[in-house]
């Protein structure tokens, strides 16, 4: 071979199908014989809020003055049937994350941050802790298939009740909490032997189907004297029908969680392959409520990959009444912070990519039950950071809403949006930017 020919060799080329991550997973599966379990939400690229833009004001629409004219953010949840609906200062709520998956300090920090920001926080699969109730002005109590730690006294102490049918990260899947995190306290709250790998149920034990759900809701309302709003949370898969059935069953609030939504621990194959993106779930859910004449009467909360005030504004413009955040809140507390890079490296990962939350060795002290690691998280400081983050997101959403001439975040509407891609235009039901084309709606 002459010199020229040697230099003209092709570069080593990885397959797009069998890329390095795929090959690593095949080797991991072959070595261990068990599927990969991890935390966080879908990591693949999906059509998302980034694919939408606001139009802003122009000759035919005029804006509100940035610092002078009011743009309200308050939201009332649960007025349909509850005697005591809840009022939040910002439509950004903290999603349910269990004590067990999170440390007690992390739960306390979530409560503190949410309270400072005037919003609600939510319990999770594992029951209510005193720390959490004590530090959360408005606390939503989750009612899950496992019923771990389910206690009528806590139900009565809650400000609202959220019946969890599923989560966006795993519609149709139950919870998992591996032995490393089942400490005495966690085990005690869940009535489980310490140290076992817990698999929670994926179906509610005492009802099946929407007709039963209605009766279950009646029971919960009777127990709490019809005072508390009842939410129904579902993972996004068939949002039109799920929203319609939840509303028909008597929900005050419907929560739809898209596939980007975080989880504490689930099979990777589940996270990446089951459910639909958040963006694709909003319009069908809103449509269901509109068809029933219940839009804005039954509130819609959207979650799954909400990161910024722009995401909030887009979700509300598509018809949601509020949003919920999980992962963003954990990052604000200090999750995956580069300050712990050395320790992430020691765990075989890097800051920003750490997702082995089920192993309980979180250097940031958030997704752990280890007393030494947990002690690293100062709940007061972390709560302050979360409150700051919530304040920034609220301000950002207001900035956008004023630019669109809206005096309340809820006045944002699909008409204010365009899409950057055909996929996003079809999913969000808004025109492709610069055109009047909404795929599937306006010819082609």
């Amino acid at each position: 071979m002459d010199d020229h020919a040697r230099k003209a060799r092709t570069l080593p080329r990885f397959s797009a199908t069998f890329d390095p991550a795929t090959m690593a997973e095949i080797r991991r599966a072959a070595a261990t014989g068990i599927y990969d379990i991890r935390g966080a939400g879908a990591k693949r690229k999906l059509p998302h809020f980034d694919d939408l833009l606001f139009l802003g004001a122009s000759i035919s629409r005029y804006p509100l003055e940035g610092y002078r004219e009011r743009c309200s953010t308050e939201v009332v949840l649960g007025g349909r049937f509850a005697k005591k609906p809840i009022t939040l200062k910002t439509p950004i709520t903290i999603a349910g994350m269990s004590f067990g998956s999170l440390s007690a300090n992390a739960k306390e920090a979530l409560g503190r941050g949410a309270t400072l920001a005037g919003t609600s926080t939510t319990t999770g699969d594992g029951g209510m802790t005193q720390e959490e109730r004590g530090h959360s002005q408005t606390l939503v109590y989750q009612y899950l298939p496992s019923r771990y730690g389910m206690n009528p006294d806590d139900l009565r102490k809650a400000d609202a009740i959220e019946i969890v049918i599923g989560q966006g990260a795993k519609p149709g899947g139950g919870g998992m909490l591996l032995g490393q995190k089942i400490t005495e306290r966690v085990a005690g709250m869940r009535c489980l032997p310490p140290g076992i790998d817990q698999r929670s149920a994926s179906r509610h034990p005492d009802w099946t189907g929407p007709d039963d759900l209605e009766i279950k809701m009646e029971e919960l309302r009777e127990i709490t004297d019809w005072e508390k709003p009842i939410y129904v949370k579902v993972g996004a898969s068939r949002p039109y029908y799920d929203t319609a059935l939840a509303a028909k069953s008597g929900a005050d609030v419907v929560v739809i969680d898209g596939m980007q939504g975080g989880t504490a621990a689930t099979q990777d194959v589940f996270i990446e392959n089951v459910g639909i993106p958040t963006l694709a779930a909003i319009r069908p859910a809103v449509q269901a409520l509109q068809d029933l004449g219940l839009h804005r009467k039954v509130q819609l909360i959207i979650s799954g990959g909400i990161r910024s005030g722009a995401d909030v504004a887009k979700a509300l413009a598509l018809g949601a009444d509020a949003v919920a955040i999980g992962t963003g809140a954990l990052i604000a507390l200090g999750d995956n912070d580069p300050m712990w890079e050395d320790e992430y490296q020691a765990l075989g990962t890097t800051a920003g990519a750490y997702d082995d939350w089920h192993e309980g060795r979180d250097p940031a002290g958030i997704t752990t039950q280890d007393p030494e690691l947990s002690a690293r998280l100062d709940p007061v400081l972390a709560g302050r950071r979360l409150a700051n983050y919530l304040a920034v997101m609220t301000l950002e959403a207001q900035t956008i809403a004023r630019a669109c001439g809206k005096s309340h975040l809820h006045n944002l509407e699909p008409e204010d949006l365009v899409a950057l891609t055909i996929e996003a235009a079809a999913m969000a039901g808004v025109p492709l930017a610069g055109t009047t084309w909404i795929p599937g709606r306006t010819g082609f």
Partner: protein, 229 residues
């Protein structure tokens, strides 16, 4: 003794009256007529009172009960005494599915049969069924005891944790990770205590029961267990 006729009084009114009883109340015995299969009767009680219901009830009767003694002189629908914390619920007739589901304490006695999923996800309750129980009973049962004088249906105790199951009659089949275990003295004592609490002192021969519990092979995820599901 308050007498409430559910054809005259709204259920919501009855439940709220029961919830707002003062701890020193002398209204400690309630009689409820014409339940007519209504759902959620006497749920969420939190007082040491007794409530007697004259007839059949719908779903979730005495759900989440604390302290109270509830007697149902009839049949009970789905989820009777679900998530009970303490107290006693006594069904004189049959109970439908998911009787005593997820309950953490107290005792549920069913004079007749109980349907499928009796004691599903139970977390500490003691259940005594004088008749037979349906399929998938004690599914994922975590703690407490389930005592059955009759037979058990398919897949008893599937994926169960530390609940103790005693069955006098036949068991159609055992669920994943549920095995028959030897009856030692401590178990005979436990069973005797539960039967006594259910008012069956001396009437039943403890020697006729078999004990079932968790083989504990599914407590940790392992490739060799994949076939068990």
């Amino acid at each position: 003794m308050p007498n409430v006729d559910l054809r005259q009084t709204a259920l919501r009114e009855l439940n709220q009256a029961l919830h707002h009883l003062r701890p020193d109340t002398n209204e400690t015995h309630w009689l409820i007529a014409n339940p007519d299969g209504r759902h959620a009767i006497a749920c969420g009680l939190d007082a040491a009172i007794s409530v007697e219901i004259e007839g059949n009830v719908g779903y979730y009767c005495a759900g989440m009960n604390k302290l109270a003694n509830v007697v149902i002189n009839g049949n009970a629908g789905v989820g009777v005494a679900e998530n009970m914390m303490s107290g006693l619920v006594h069904v004189r007739g049959d109970a439908s599915q998911a009787a005593g589901a997820t309950a953490q304490g107290g005792m549920l006695v069913v004079e007749g049969n109980a349907g499928a999923r009796c004691g599903i996800s139970m977390k500490g309750i003691d259940i005594v069924v004088k008749g037979s129980i349906g399929h998938m009973s004690a599914f994922m049962a975590q703690a407490g005891t389930l005592t059955v004088l009759g037979d058990a249906g398919e897949a008893l105790g599937d994926s169960l944790y530390e609940a103790k199951l005693f069955v006098r009659g036949s068991v159609k089949s055992l669920g994943a990770d549920c095995v028959e275990k030897p009856m030692r003295d401590e178990h005979r004592e436990l069973l005797h205590a539960k039967l006594t609490a259910a008012g069956l002192n001396g009437e039943i021969d403890i020697g006729e029961f078999k004990r079932y519990g968790s083989a504990r092979t599914l407590y940790h995820f392992h490739v060799d267990n994949a076939g068990a599901y």
